[in-house]
């Protein structure tokens, strides 16, 4: 539930706890910390780590003597989100048994956080996500893709035209048709099916991870609070996979300052926060809204605003506020990514070939120092190359309900009549100050990837002196190993967005998570980790056949 706009903290209910990252009191149960944007599990817990955790190497004998439950496992996935799921899926398919795998995560479903972030940013189950047909986190082969399933469904429903359109899309995307993307619902359903097939619930221990340490016998120990428990539990394992996702949503300093000063969480929101009340009010009364950011979330919100505008007939004005104009195309080698109306569009968040073609190989071959330059050339903030989104922008500009403004936000204030005043400094020389008045502000400037905001990873860095790359993230090998954490035969891997800036660009994508899983499991197979066998052509085919018939992976 959202708080009514309050001018002082006086009207606040009792605090429900503190945020572990910013330590501030939280007064209700928002999906993210309203002060710093930390993602769940953000509520502080009494951290009574045993004294041995102050040492880099924990003595297991000592730990057992203290009486807290200590269990053992061979493979330990920390996070329990999509990255963990994809890794565990790979392990199961390569022969590991449920009993050998432990997963610790805050959520009951691997896609829980993903789904919440999608829902808040207006990608409901019916909406299409960004990635393509073959990016299936439930299927390590990527075939048949989501498109094939959708086509079969459409043919059964005699919707021939729609079926043919999708077939044309997957045949010619992204050159002659826009890239096919599945509906979010299709992804969730396929994940639920695969969860059941591989026995996810059997492996999952729902709880909150507190820390990871090396043990004195060449393994690792993770400390966690099981859900609804006040005592620490420990899991010891030789192979650990970390995929903890983002640290939080990105709350700009201006927004943080505004919240601290005025305790208002309704008029100015981050797009990943629940903000349905804004659409409700606009549908009833119309109004002016400031939109920040130029990524996929800004595109989708603009589309939603257009839908409401058309359905309600209310006058809704969208001011798209950008830091600076963007007119130049991105150029790499002989190729260009075109910029239109200050938006950059490409089908996926990286050029396709960074997922497996020559750009993937080029990045891996590059020296660590050169990688950031390559990543900057290929990446940047882009939105999907979708005609419907482009059409909204063009029509909005033509009809005048969507306008672009440029400037750096200096301050956000309420104007006393339940509206916002945004003070800007533009880029003219000398810079001039301007003001914009609006009913709402939605900030779509993304998610927080700062290592310092990630308690478990920052703690590992400090404790074991882990090196950071040029993008400030932890250095991992091309096999996603945190090499400095090697402990005898034990190994720790890191996947997901927190592995950015290393040898692989699209770490934060379904396909990237599968790539990471494949590389790490290849290492484990090579090292002779228990029960794993290489996925050669025959076993791969037979395992796929089991997937296809929804049979449990064979041991």
């Amino acid at each position: 539930m959202l708080l009514p706009s309050a001018s002082s903290p006086a009207g606040f209910p009792e605090p429900t706890g503190n945020c572990h990252a910013c330590r501030q009191s939280i007064f209700w149960s928002p999906a993210t910390c309203p002060w710093c944007g930390a993602l769940p599990p953000y509520q502080d817990v009494p951290l009574d780590l045993p004294g041995s955790f102050a040492q880099p190497r924990v003595s297991l004998r000592h730990l057992r003597r203290q009486g807290n439950p200590v269990t053992e496992s061979t493979y330990l996935a920390l996070g329990g989100g999509l990255g963990s799921f994809v890794w565990v899926d790979y392990l199961r398919i390569c022969g590991a048994a449920c009993a050998q795998i432990a997963v610790i995560g805050a959520e009951a479903h691997p896609h829980a956080r993903f789904q919440r972030l999608c829902n808040h940013s207006q990608i409901s189950g019916e909406q299409r996500i960004r990635s393509d047909s073959g990016a299936r986190p439930d299927n390590i082969w990527g075939w048949p893709g989501y498109a094939a399933e959708e086509v079969v469904g459409l043919l059964r429903a005699h919707q021939w035209r729609a079926a043919v359109r999708i077939l044309w899309q997957i045949l010619s995307e992204p050159a002659l048709a826009e890239t096919y993307a599945p509906r979010a619902q299709a992804v969730y359903m396929s994940l639920e099916r695969e969860m059941a097939r591989i026995g996810w619930q059997q492996m999952l221990r729902q709880g909150r991870i507190c820390a990871l340490r090396q043990t004195d016998d060449g393994r690792y120990v993770a400390a966690y609070f099981p859900q609804n428990s006040q005592s620490l539990h420990f899991v010891v394992a030789p192979y650990v996979h970390l995929s903890l996702g983002y640290a939080g949503i990105h709350l700009t300093p201006e927004l943080q300052t505004y919240r601290h000063a005025y305790h208002d969480f309704r008029l100015a929101v981050q797009a990943y926060e629940q903000h349905e009340h804004i659409y409700r009010q606009l549908a009833q009364h119309g109004g002016v809204l400031i939109l920040r950011g130029r990524g996929i979330v800004a595109s989708r919100i603009l589309q939603r605003l257009d839908e409401i505008r058309q359905a309600s007939g209310q006058p809704i004005q969208v001011i798209h506020l950008l830091r600076a104009p963007l007119t130049e195309d991105a150029v790499y080698g002989w190729a260009r990514r075109h910029t239109r109306d200050h938006w950059q569009r490409q089908p996926l968040n990286w050029p396709k070939s960074a997922f497996g073609g020559d750009l993937r190989a080029a990045l891996e071959a590059a020296l660590p120092a050169e990688r950031q330059t390559l990543l900057q050339a290929w990446g940047g903030v882009t939105t999907s190359d979708r005609r419907d989104w482009q059409e909204v922008v063009e029509r909005g500009l033509r009809e005048g309900w969507y306008t672009l403004h440029f400037g750096v936000v200096e301050q956000i204030k309420p104007n006393g009549r339940r509206r916002l005043v945004v003070h800007l400094r533009d880029q003219a020389s000398p810079p001039a100050s301007r003001r914009l008045v609006a009913d709402f502000l939605i900030d779509c400037t993304g998610l927080n990837t700062a290592l310092n905001a990630h308690p478990i990873l920052a703690d590992l860095r400090d404790r074991y002196r882990l090196p950071q790359n040029k993008m400030g993230q932890l250095v991992v090998t091309p096999d996603f190993e945190l090499k400095e954490l090697r402990n005898g035969g034990g190994q720790v891997f890191l996947a997901g967005v927190m592995a950015l800036g290393n040898a692989f660009a699209p770490v934060d994508s379904f396909v990237g998570l599968q790539y990471a899983a494949q590389r790490t499991v290849s290492v484990l197979v090579r090292e002779g980790a228990p029960n794993l066998r290489p996925l050669d052509a025959r076993s791969s085919l037979s395992q796929w056949w089991r997937w296809q018939r929804h049979r449990e992976p064979s041991p």
Partner: protein, 147 residues
Amino acid sequence: MTPTLRGRWQTRLLLLTLLGVPLTGLFAWAYRDGVTPFALLGYVLLLGFVWDVVYDILQTLRWNRDWPPLFALLSTLWEGVFLWVALTWLAEQGIALPGISPLLTAARFAAHYLAVSLTVWAAAHSLLLLLFPHWRFRGGQWLSRWE
């Protein structure tokens, strides 16, 4: 799968051997000519290695540096047309390529070529993904694995 040059070569070699050879055997049996279909398959493979270099360069002109399935289909058809035109032109010049029967007709060539190339195209977008999970991440290289 977004191919690299090595990946293209390896994939072409694998599919023309794995699927092209048995299919060509069928055509050799049907045409009662044990040489021409196999010689054609050999030319397709050798010329293909050269075409792959051209496609690889064209790919770098694209921002995504990818090769949509449609491009793969069109390029395969183009290679067939090119080979047939080259064969007939050479024949007109009085040059007979080794292994090619002078009785080869356009219809026979087309039936054989389309059967092989369409099968190979379909397999490259399905079967190989299932046989080699690393293939799509290595730009079509199936021979080498992660070191």
